[in-house]
């Protein structure tokens, strides 16, 4: 119907609204209202007050969980960058066949359910797993507990989120004009200085994109920290779930959810002002 409608539009301008209306109404009822309900509950459960926010913002437990969440998200982002940059480089500067095989692998990882990847890390890091066996083989008598620690959840999150970073950096590296590198070389730049002053700045947009994406996803990550992390070092999404499921503390859970939401939206708004949100998800 696009055509017939578009012809009318220039005159009446009612068609776009008619086409948008079903989705608009749907999103109002099933997206905006539930979200508003979280906002309202954070102020009204169990009674109308600011007590939930006061508790979340000043309570030692909640402060520690929020701090832990930010530190973890920042650390995971950094690790994804350290892991993703060399791989993106390898993809962008290998023979087409090698590059395509790596791309295939990253895409596979991208599309594999993160529950599957979380489970894999349970196998790899488990007490009867290959990593512990390797440690014993090289003579570590009492191998450390790897599973259900900060280490295991961080490692798995890096693995799960790295593809976002890799794809973002790769798409920028691929577009770098080799002539720029050659002219920098002809002007005497080489090795580290070539990388630091020419290559790295050229890939900065990809780094920014990937980092924002990984950081934001990691802030709200629920499944992997809950399954693989230490129960004593929860992240905020896990604690929200815990409050709702175990204690039916909707007010407290909602207040934490609102803080998580506001922080996420602030980061994405800053990003949107500079680059445009639609670029983020490529």
């Amino acid at each position: 119907m696009g055509i017939s409608l578009s012809k009318l539009t220039e005159k009446t301008n009612i068609w776009p609204w008619l086409l948008l209306a079903p989705l608009g109404i749907y999103m109002l009822i099933f997206f905006v209202v539930p979200l508003a309900e979280v906002a309202i509950m954070s102020f009204t459960e169990p009674k109308v007050s600011l007590a939930n926010y006061q508790k979340v913002l000043t309570g030692a437990l909640y402060q520690r969980v929020f701090l832990n969440t930010f530190v973890t998200a920042a650390f995971v982002t950094l690790c994804c960058l350290l892991v993703g940059y060399p791989l993106a480089y390898l993809m962008a500067h290998s023979k087409p066949r090698t590059a395509m095989l790596i791309l295939l692998l990253v895409t596979m990882s991208f599309w594999t359910s993160f529950l599957v990847r979380t489970y894999s890390w349970m196998v790899l890091l488990g007490n009867n797993g290959p990593l512990i066996a390797l440690l014993q083989m090289i003579g570590v008598d009492k191998p450390p507990q790897l599973l259900f620690t900060r280490f295991s959840s961080t490692l798995a999150m890096v693995h799960i989120l790295a593809p976002y970073m890799i794809m973002n950096i790769y798409s920028v590296m691929k577009k770098i004009d080799p002539a720029l590198i050659r002219s920098a070389e002809s002007l005497g730049a080489k090795g580290w200085s070539l990388f630091r002053h020419v290559y790295l700045p050229l890939t900065a947009p990809g780094i920014a994109n990937g980092s924002v994406l990984v950081f934001v996803i990691c802030l709200g990550f629920y499944v992997t920290p809950v399954l693989l992390g230490s129960p004593r070092e929860q992240m905020v999404a896990g604690l929200i779930g815990h409050q709702i499921e175990e204690f039916l503390a909707f007010g407290l859970g909602s207040a934490m959810a609102m803080i998580l939401l506001v922080v996420t939206l602030i980061i994405l708004t800053i990003y949107h002002r500079r680059f445009g949100l639609d670029k983020l998800w490529g």
Binding site: V38, M108, V123, G126, H159
Partner: protein, 267 residues
């Protein structure tokens, strides 16, 4: 620097690949715990998966919910995308941004909202509730894919059809729709996968009656790490492998690499 990057790159390849492939031998293991390498091999856990209603019903629920979500998402998103790509009107920038919002909100926040809201409406523990929620979450990705396709659409083709006497409806059916078909197929596929993989909202609202596969897997991993999970993981892995590798090798024959992309926020 170059050599260093290459070596680092190859190590990362191992890091990415190992967790993907390890589920395959695990699925044939005869151990009832997470033992690797497996002490022996059998097909017992495959039989367990394909004969156990505890696993087949969630699988069926997931397929049903993802299918319904895809249909509902496309029914809502296709007209909206035409409006947003082909028309200029006041508030368009805002509407564009709103289309992406469900991607920006962490799923745990939506889960809390749905848990309470659908509780009031009597929609928790129902297929319908999960479908309605998943549709919201699938809108952004379906819109992104479809609008990218529609933006690249050469409207002269439609003008040509109409100048040759085709009615607007005929033009839409015989020109617009066939050209957009790949975009429609891919955005439907993304909507389907978004729903099929979605875990957090499903954990909170699907309950026993509409239990989805990710929810069942999550509960099982949390409680006893049933070895059947390795079987499901392998099956899901094979589906992805076939789905991605097949087009890849097809395109490799034509020596052209497609650009993969995937929605965020699914965690």
């Amino acid at each position: 620097m170059n050599t260093f990057m290459r070596w680092a790159g190859f190590i990362v390849v191992l890091f990415i690949a190992a967790p993907l492939v390890i589920v395959v031998p695990m699925s044939f293991s005869n151990a009832n715990s997470l033992q690797f390498p497996p002490p022996g091999y059998w097909l017992g856990y495959y039989r367990a998966y394909f004969t156990s209603m505890d696993w087949l019903i969630p699988t069926w629920n997931s397929i049903l919910i993802a299918t319904a979500t895809t249909i509902l998402t496309m029914a809502l998103v296709v007209p909206a995308t035409f409006a947003l790509v082909r028309h200029k009107f006041r508030g368009k920038g805002f509407a564009d941004l709103m289309m992406l919002m469900p991607m920006a909100v962490p799923h745990i926040v939506m889960a809390v909202g749905y848990y309470s809201y659908f509780g009031d409406l009597g929609l928790v523990h129902s297929h319908l509730g999960v479908i309605l929620a998943h549709t919201c979450l699938s809108v952004p990705i379906a819109f992104l894919v479809l609008s990218a396709n529609l933006k690249g659409f050469d409207r002269n083709l439609e003008r040509a059809a109409q100048s040759l006497g085709a009615s607007p409806a005929k033009t839409f059916l015989h020109v617009t729709l066939p050209i957009l078909r790949p975009g429609l197929v891919i955005s439907s596929l993304f909507a389907f996968i978004q729903s099929f993989d979605e875990t957090v909202v499903a954990i909170f609202i699907s309950g026993r009656d509409a239990e989805t596969l990710p929810r069942k897997m999550f509960d099982s991993i949390r409680q006893e790490a049933d070895p059947v999970i390795a079987v499901i993981s392998t099956l899901l892995f094979v589906v992805v492998l076939v789905g991605i590798a097949a087009p890849y090798f097809a395109s490799a024959l034509r020596s052209r690499a497609p650009k993969p992309s995937r929605p965020a926020g699914a965690h």
